[in-house]
Symmetry: C2
């Protein structure tokens, strides 16, 4: 979330800082809608800058997408952290999955990111692994409390989110799938019986 160009150096010119924000805002918008398919030129246009400027701030499309994915994962991480304060073990677990699913539903890039491997994970690796280990605590707590099936592990979570994201992103031959229902079905499969 800070300068991507220089690790230190003088503070970055005012217009540059402003443009960087504009670009990120435009990218959020463009990628929310079009997923990875959104084009660099489109992002530039929305930001009101030339492509050259866009590339001055983010050396490749991957870097730009990576920044957004990282941003999203930081939000997911927040969700996982908040889960630690929720008393009820099932609520902590299921509630967080629901909340974070909503976050994922909000934009298409990250859905694409979670599904296609075409994205350079290095940009979001930090938040991703931290999310993993943070939510692991909640999973363990739920299991210890006996509210989820005993064979469930934190490693099942990414898979579930992957499946879920695909139902958000797509929406078969008809209209759109009801991904919230998909999640509820899955939660019922995970809950101890």
């Amino acid at each position: 979330m800070e300068a991507a160009t220089q690790p230190s150096q003088r503070p970055m010119r005012a217009d540059a800082r402003r443009n960087r924000e504009r670009i990120l805002a435009a990218a959020r918008l463009a990628f929310e809608e079009g997923g990875v398919h959104a084009q660099m030129e489109d992002v530039a246009r929305r930001a009101g800058v030339g492509v050259g400027t866009l590339y001055r701030h983010f050396p490749t499309k991957e870097a730009l997408v990576g920044e957004l994915v990282g941003e999203k994962f930081r939000l997911l991480l927040e969700g996982a952290r908040d889960a630690l304060d929720i008393e009820d073990p099932w609520e902590a677990f299921a509630g967080t999955l629901r909340r974070n699913a909503e976050l994922m539903a909000a934009d298409a890039v990250v859905q694409d990111a979670l599904m296609r491997s075409e994205i350079d994970w290095t940009y979001a690796e930090g938040p991703r692994s931290e999310l993993h280990s943070t939510f692991a605590v909640t999973v363990e707590r739920a299991r210890a409390a006996g509210v989820i099936r005993p064979d469930f592990t934190i490693d099942d979570v990414p898979m579930i989110m992957c499946g879920l994201c695909s139902t958000m992103a797509d929406g078969g031959p008809g209209g759109a799938y009801d991904w919230r229902r998909h999640l509820e079905l899955m939660l019922d499969g995970i809950r101890a019986r």
Copy 2:
């Protein structure tokens, strides 16, 4: 599975018929591995023909992929038909999902097809809708028997398969996801309790 070029006309030259088969075989192979990403030139090379010949038989990549998707859906349809002969309503339902999931796992194009909307469904529409209505019978039977949750409908099935396919196709940052497990979790969520 018959001539795509002419609705009637004279019988198609011997070498042409042979090449058509070769192309389909090569395409099956190439697309099984690479999904929609497999390239037309690659298909042609594997078939031992030039791209020109490939295009003589299938006017676009979409047409070729469509043919394969249709082929796969015909297999899925068979699965759904066989389900009608299975006594136990739960076995008929769950067993068919398992069997057809295996079929889907066998090649990547159709997974892509089920997920991304980038594919022209007209080519597989027939088998697809027939599959839908055929399996609806088994779903209804399972519900009537009280072995699946009462709010489950046939329309939930494509969504589930979509989610499932994404876990086959991808396999997150680590290796590959265990999609069979994904299916079992989901089945547990669907089964009546």
